[in-house]
Subunit: 227 residues, 4 copies
Amino acid sequence: MQNPLRSSIQDATSVSGDGDARFRALAAELAEVGKGFYARNWVLGTSGNFSAALSKDPVRLAITATGLDKGRLRPEQFLEIDEKETVIRGTGKPSAETLLHIEIVRERKAGAVLHTHSVWSTVLSGLYAAKGGVLMEGLEMLKGLAGVQTHEHREWLPIIPNSQYMAPLARVVSETLKQHPDAHGFLLREHGLYTWGADIDEARRHIEIFEFLMETMVRRMNVPHAI
Amino acid sequence: MQNPLRSSIQDATSVSGDGDARFRALAAELAEVGKGFYARNWVLGTSGNFSAALSKDPVRLAITATGLDKGRLRPEQFLEIDEKETVIRGTGKPSAETLLHIEIVRERKAGAVLHTHSVWSTVLSGLYAAKGGVLMEGLEMLKGLAGVQTHEHREWLPIIPNSQYMAPLARVVSETLKQHPDAHGFLLREHGLYTWGADIDEARRHIEIFEFLMETMVRRMNVPHAI
Amino acid sequence: MQNPLRSSIQDATSVSGDGDARFRALAAELAEVGKGFYARNWVLGTSGNFSAALSKDPVRLAITATGLDKGRLRPEQFLEIDEKETVIRGTGKPSAETLLHIEIVRERKAGAVLHTHSVWSTVLSGLYAAKGGVLMEGLEMLKGLAGVQTHEHREWLPIIPNSQYMAPLARVVSETLKQHPDAHGFLLREHGLYTWGADIDEARRHIEIFEFLMETMVRRMNVPHAI
Amino acid sequence: MQNPLRSSIQDATSVSGDGDARFRALAAELAEVGKGFYARNWVLGTSGNFSAALSKDPVRLAITATGLDKGRLRPEQFLEIDEKETVIRGTGKPSAETLLHIEIVRERKAGAVLHTHSVWSTVLSGLYAAKGGVLMEGLEMLKGLAGVQTHEHREWLPIIPNSQYMAPLARVVSETLKQHPDAHGFLLREHGLYTWGADIDEARRHIEIFEFLMETMVRRMNVPHAI
């Protein structure tokens, strides 16, 4: 029997018939992701938001409602929204940053978009904000990013100024994604990490990799003297 | 059916009839909060204390008894006290800092008061004690504090000298709350964090936010050189 | 019905009749302690050892056998030993540092002795070894140590040079305990923490407090500049 | 009744009859190891790989398939391979670094080989790469390494330049093991730790010990000033 999660991503344009089962399966999977991230202190204080694409053209997302504790998400707390942020299924308001999710799915044809808000990304994005991004290189963990074959890969993680105005911020995100077609994620300054993947598993792997790399970079800067 | 937890906060002045159920529900919820905080090392060594308001005028609290392991709280270990710290329900001595809880509920009309004792708050409150407080600004996580709409918010977290004399300390807390009507919490020097909320969930969210922000500030200070 | 754990400490000289039940209860409790410490990274790599007194005069201990994973202890892996380290119950070799446990129970009339081996104690004991100890003061967490009433308490945590020769090391421990009758614990240099209590709960609380205080002290030292 | 895990290591040359049970038992044990390492952030982002020897001469390994989440390993995801990396049992591609596992089992007669990829090993191996290794000495935790009797032991942990070319890298590993016959592990630069043991338990203990020691060394370097 076909895995409904995988098929929801592959023939994502047909949202009908077993749409309910797909939605519930993706929501359940994202709720599990939330528990793991919360345990690692990556989504404290109701921060973070998660989505999976039910369809990419037109964009339809299963996405977290706003203001929820990410360690105690229940599948029924997810919403289905269309590309105008209209809630098609579920009750509640979608995450404030829903527009960014829509933009990422559109630009990258992503199957899932995950946003974490860790101490490490907050520190690192503040330290490197003036440079507009962080260069990550020489680290084996980079090989876990989709399509990367060697630790010699150079990953530019753009840093975008934080804003509460979602429409202009979404436009900056869209431009940034176009300018850096190879980027696997970006940071909002002192706000956190966005990354994505072909499916939830890949997006989750990318979160783990970037969180690892950011922690590594800050801890390396903490060593005050040469050996 | 109405949620007994929510109703206990809304019409909190009528403590009768289903008072038992309310008390037990709040105690059970605070016990769960304790387990989560203990797992994060925020209430080691029997430190920390938690309360929820059964009534605000006059003040009646469900509060932790003193000297308990916060990772293994049982609902029956909670006490009900009135505004003179008299134990109305349960056996044991209330937390030494009960007066501070009473003062906070009175001043802020809080539905719940939580106190954690983390490494980060101990370090930060020592470093900033001479300044009388810590200014937190520019960080997205601030938006999780009740009523805050933007990361451009400036939060002043007052630091109060630590003391073992609860009556005078409660007066300083009361004065501090009056002087800083917008503050969402305060630190006792090298002792820990107090914050509160309309209900237990909001108070817990505030703890997570302040603990995140304090860890972020100390870790940022650890980076010894400019980029 | 009387709690067998408490009674085992109070009238500890009579080891008979329900001695089996006492031993099993203490071993089960210490095994639980081990799981918690392992989860906090305080007893990695089979490090650490734990004991509880079945009798104090003459000394009889329930103690961990050597070389066991402290996160997966089973009660049947504990040994009963007398003051000459003879194994009276159970199979296996007692912890190499059994003599230190015996010395502590003798000197302090302790009901339980716990030894952890954390990163923080390793770092701190190395940094302060030349001073012979660490002074801890001004920190509220000190109040969790038995008999301490105020954060203004000054706790001297002696540091003893590490050694693989247990008989002379036990003599140094004995002398150190006599020289510092108010000390609630001591460090072996780059080896770890020993503390104790009237019962297992108190000893566990002391571990949590000292581990918290050591982490706090090292993290405070990491901040390279004044505010 | 004999423990099938132990016997699989002792008379490892006879792979027949109850080979299925051995394979499944080793795979189940390695899957548990993976869960513990993932919880400690040592194998994020599908990093890390684990093997146990079904036979040492000729080498036959139960080994993780490539690209799997190490926190959710299932025994059926393991492969059996021979010394030419041919898959004898199971479906999927073996870990990219399978050749290194084979080399280690050959050189050290190891019963199990574990590779973690922690923040601490990444930082430490980068800092010490130019020296070709890290000297660890004076630390009690060293005593947990097989055959070490005292904290005065000096452990040289070689650092090998990272590479994506497995055949030449395996030759460097083989030479390094020959040059340092007493080494209990080695680092790949900014990639992670390899260690091994007579069985899975010993290899796991070695991981815990080296991860502890590396964290300790980096944290010690973070203290910017003398006491």
